[in-house]
Amino acid sequence: MRLRICWLALAVLFAPAAMAEEDGVALVKVLEGSAFTIQSGDRQALEVGQPIFRSDVVETASGSVGLTFKDGTRISIGPNSRIELKEFEFSPKDNKLAFLVHIIKGTMQYISGVIAKLSPESVRIETPVATVVVRGTRFLAKVEGE
C-alpha cells in the first residue's frame, strides 16, 4: 500500500512535465480542407485539436489551417504553403521568450500574442528573401519559394 502511494506521488510529481511535452506549443483550432504536419520526416494529416510541436513543419495543398500558440500568438496558413516552427519559448517568469517561424513558401497571417507584447525583439519571421521584425500586431506574408 505504502509503495503504491509512493508511486502515485511520483506520478503526480512528473505529470506536469510529461503533459507539457504532449501538449506541444500550439493547437490546431481551425481547419479548411486538409493540412499536414511533418515530424522528423513523418507526414501526418492534421485534425482540429491536434498539438503542434517545436521544429514541426506544417504543410498545406488546397487547404488552410489556423493555429493558436500557448502565449496567444496566432498563425494561419493558406493553401500551397510550407512553414517550419523553429523556436518557441514562453516562460515569462524566467525571462525566456522566443518565437521563430520560417516560411519556406506560401501565404501566412501572423497575429501577435504575449511574447510580442513582453519582448518584441524575441519575435522573428524568417523567409528565404528577408526577415520580418515584428512590433505588433497583425500582418500577412507571401513567399514564392524555390
Partner: protein
Amino acid sequence: MTMVFRTVQTIISSVACYGRIVLLPLLFLSACAGQGNVFVLLPDENGKVGSIEVVNDAGRQKIDQANQSIKVAGVTQAPEAPQTLDEAQINKVWSGAIQTTPRGPRTFILNFRSGTDQLTEESIRQLPGIFEEIKTYPVAEMSIVDHTDRVGRAEANAALALKRAESTRERLVEAGLELKRVEVSSHGENNPVIPTADNVAEPKNRRVEVTIR
C-alpha cells in the same frame, strides 16, 4: 533579343494579371499586387495598427499604416518602398489564411481579498461569464496565471502567486469547470499592467489572469 522577349513576357503576364489592357500604364506604377514576396501590415481585431520591419542584407523597410505592403524581389535586393493595397488585392492572395484565423484569446482579471488566496465577491460573480465564454471556443484552452508587483523577494512573491493561481483553478473546478486543457503558472513580476521600479507597491499588478484561447 532576350531583353525584348522578357519585356513582352512581362507585359503578357501583367495583362493576364489585370485582365484589361486599358490598365496597362498603371502596371508600371503598381505592378501586380501580391505577386512575388510580399508583406502586408493589417489592423488587428481591435483596429490597432502596429508596425513591421522587413530586413535583408541589401536593406530594410518599415511600415506602420494599415494595408501598407513591402515587396522583396530577392535576397540580394533591398525591400521596396511601401505601397498600399486595397481589400480586394489582399483577399485575392490571402483569403485562405484569413478565413482560418483562430478566435482571439480573451482574458478575465480576478482579484483576491487582501493577503489571502480567496477571490473577492465581485470576482466570484464573474465565474459564470467565464464558463459561457469557454463554450464559444473550438478546443478551448485556459491558462490561469498569477502576477505580482515588485514588493518583496521575487521567490516569495512567486510562491504566493502560484498558490493563488492553484486556488483559482480549484475554485473554477468547484464552480463546475470541465476543461481538460488548463495550465496554471506564474509570471511573477515580469508581466505587469503598469511597469514600476523595484519595490514599488502596485495593486493593479497583483492579479490573476484567466485567459481562454
